[in-house]
């Protein structure tokens, strides 16, 4: 298997967008997310090749669930991109579904998908080069400039200032200074006014072009689809207070969150990326380009469009460098945006092809039905606009970690516990613990709160222990 084919399930559009958006917004876990996205697939490539697990309906179902969740994340990202560009969410979902299903119909699709993914990566690198030319400095200088901003404010050329921009998801925006917000389209905005300790809630029904004035400490609640215009030079609501706060957020990251994220991505990669063989020697270079590219992309987006998190989708940060390009440049912002969209679609095709490979490798006669079900489920879920791409991405990687990687690391592949393959037993325990922790997470005490967001931290050890214990007992009774 070539390096590109081995990695395609990892370097999908949802993970790239999550890394870029995290860096642009200056989230506390952004460096660890970037680091894990770079190192986890390398660990997976170097894992020893194992005997494949015996085909079983349970392992097939678990792999299909992981594929469905990850496809959902990618489809949601593409649908968000379409929404930001003014197209319909359903149109993007139908296009993504058609591409994913086509992957299954084309002979030798696996090889072609990797080539398509590589071309998509090259297309995105072209946009990155253009962004570097627009900003005019190296990424580390851009980082320094972003960290030196006295405040994170709307630029004069921001689409949120010029024509107004659409919220992909409902948002609650907290204002630190007075701001006049214009509703570009008709709608209702809720303003929670801070009157000393008292809160006054007012619903404003606005016609297109009407404005609401917000005072410091006021909060604006807007529904998904609302199109709003902000004032240039004013602080971006919800963004870091200053460049310094943006730069240093990572040094205040909660340790449990950092560890949970790293473990989830590490084990998720072990489940998704196969051990590197003879032809995978180029794979580390692909991982390196992915890491350096997403890091530079995130920093440039922070410089040219610091408001990129406002729409509620990571797709906004991905589109930011293209949309902020100089209109008189060699490639217009419109052309660059098309290149980004084509690049994302290519990465999606590659990821879909690789996920289909993982489902097929699980074996059994029924894998085509399982793959088809995963694709359709992902498409239907992608229509739901309230779920951001990170949620199914984290869930997919978490289930992969708990239900596929942990049993494998416990030596489940090729082993049996009574009449059941050990991989199926461990997988069932892993997914059951994952679902239980995710469902009951709200009631967990504060020190265990990290499990609510990253249940794999509890589910993966549970699956590992159960396989180890049951295998030993099965061995003793024989």
């Amino acid at each position: 298997m070539t390096g590109a084919r081995a990695l395609a399930a990892w370097t999908g559009p949802a993970l790239a967008a999550a890394v870029v958006a995290g860096i642009t917004a200056g989230t506390a876990v952004a460096p660890v997310l970037l680091l894990s996205a770079a190192l986890a697939p390398l660990v997976a490539l170097l894992q020893p090749a194992r005997a494949p697990a015996a085909p079983h309906a349970v392992t097939l179902a678990l792999t299909a669930v992981v594929a469905a969740l990850l496809l959902w994340a990618h489809v949601a990202l593409l649908a968000d991109t379409a929404t930001l560009l003014g197209a319909g969410r359903a149109q993007a979902v139908v296009l993504a579904l058609a591409l994913a299903l086509l992957v299954g119909l084309v002979p030798g699709a696996g090889r072609w998908c990797a080539v398509v993914g590589g071309l998509g990566g090259v297309a995105l690198l072209l946009v990155l080069v253009d962004a570097a030319a627009t900003v005019g400095v190296a990424p580390w200088t851009a980082w320094r400039e972003a960290a030196a901003r006295p405040a994170v404010v709307f630029g004069a050329r921001s689409p949120w200032v010029r024509d107004g921009e659409r919220l992909v998801r409902g948002a609650t925006l907290a204002f630190d200074e007075g701001h006049r917000v214009v509703a570009v389209t008709r709608g209702t905005l809720r303003v929670v006014e801070a009157d000393g300790a008292r809160r006054v809630v007012r619903d404003w029904r606005l016609a297109a072009g009407d404005a609401v004035s917000l005072r410091p400490a006021d909060t604006l609640v807007a529904e998904a689809g609302s199109r709003l215009r902000f004032e240039p030079g004013k602080r971006v609501p919800g963004a870091a207070a200053s460049g310094s706060a943006w730069a240093d957020a990572a040094t205040r990251a909660p340790l449990a969150q950092v560890v949970g994220l790293a473990v989830t991505l590490l084990l998720g990669a072990v489940a998704l990326v196969p051990a590197g063989g003879r032809r995978a020697a180029a794979a580390p270079a692909i991982v390196l380009v992915f890491a350096l590219g997403t890091a530079a992309w995130g920093v440039y987006a922070a410089v040219v469009a610091p408001e990129s998190g406002l729409a509620g989708s990571p797709a906004e940060a991905l589109l930011a460098p293209a949309r902020s390009a100089t209109p008189g440049g060699e490639l217009s912002p419109g052309a660059l945006t098309i290149v980004v969209v084509v690049g994302l679609l290519a990465l999606f095709v590659a990821a879909a092809g690789a996920l289909r490979d993982r489902v097929a490798e699980t074996g059994g006669r029924r894998w085509p039905e399982a793959w088809m079900t995963a694709v359709i489920a992902a498409g239907l879920a992608g229509l739901v606009d309230v779920v951001d791409p990170w949620t199914p991405l984290a869930a997919g990687l978490g289930v992969a970690a708990a239900a596929l990687a942990a049993p494998r690391l416990a030596g489940a592949d090729g082993a049996w516990i009574g009449p059941w393959p050990a991989a199926a037993v461990g997988g069932l325990v892993g997914v059951a613990v994952f679902a239980a922790v995710a469902a009951l997470g709200a009631g967990l005490p504060a020190p265990l709160a990290v499990l609510r967001d990253l249940p794999a931290l509890a589910a993966a050890p549970a699956a590992w222990v159960i396989v180890k214990v049951l295998r030993r007992e099965a061995g003793e009774t024989r």
Binding site: S36, L42, V43, L46, A147, V259, A285
Partner: protein
């Protein structure tokens, strides 16, 4: 050194590289806030040094395996 042993050592090194930022968060004096050439040392590490080291190590191990 056998290919399998080389792989195991490389995996341990990669996991150590991944573990350094959480360990840095535990150290007194906030070493992660130090800046080198104006950029946070944590960002130099996560965006450049660790991916470069990791990719170089993995390339060496995979090339040895393919001989």
């Amino acid at each position: 050194m056998s290919a399998d042993r080389g792989r195991r050592i490389a995996v341990v090194v990669l996991v150590l590289l991944l573990s350094l930022p959480p360990l840095a968060l535990l150290l007194p004096g906030s070493p992660a806030t130090v800046r080198v050439a104006g950029v946070g040392v944590l960002w130099w590490y996560a965006a450049l040094a660790a991916p470069l080291l990791g990719a170089a190590l993995a390339t060496v191990i995979l090339r040895r395996a393919s001989r």
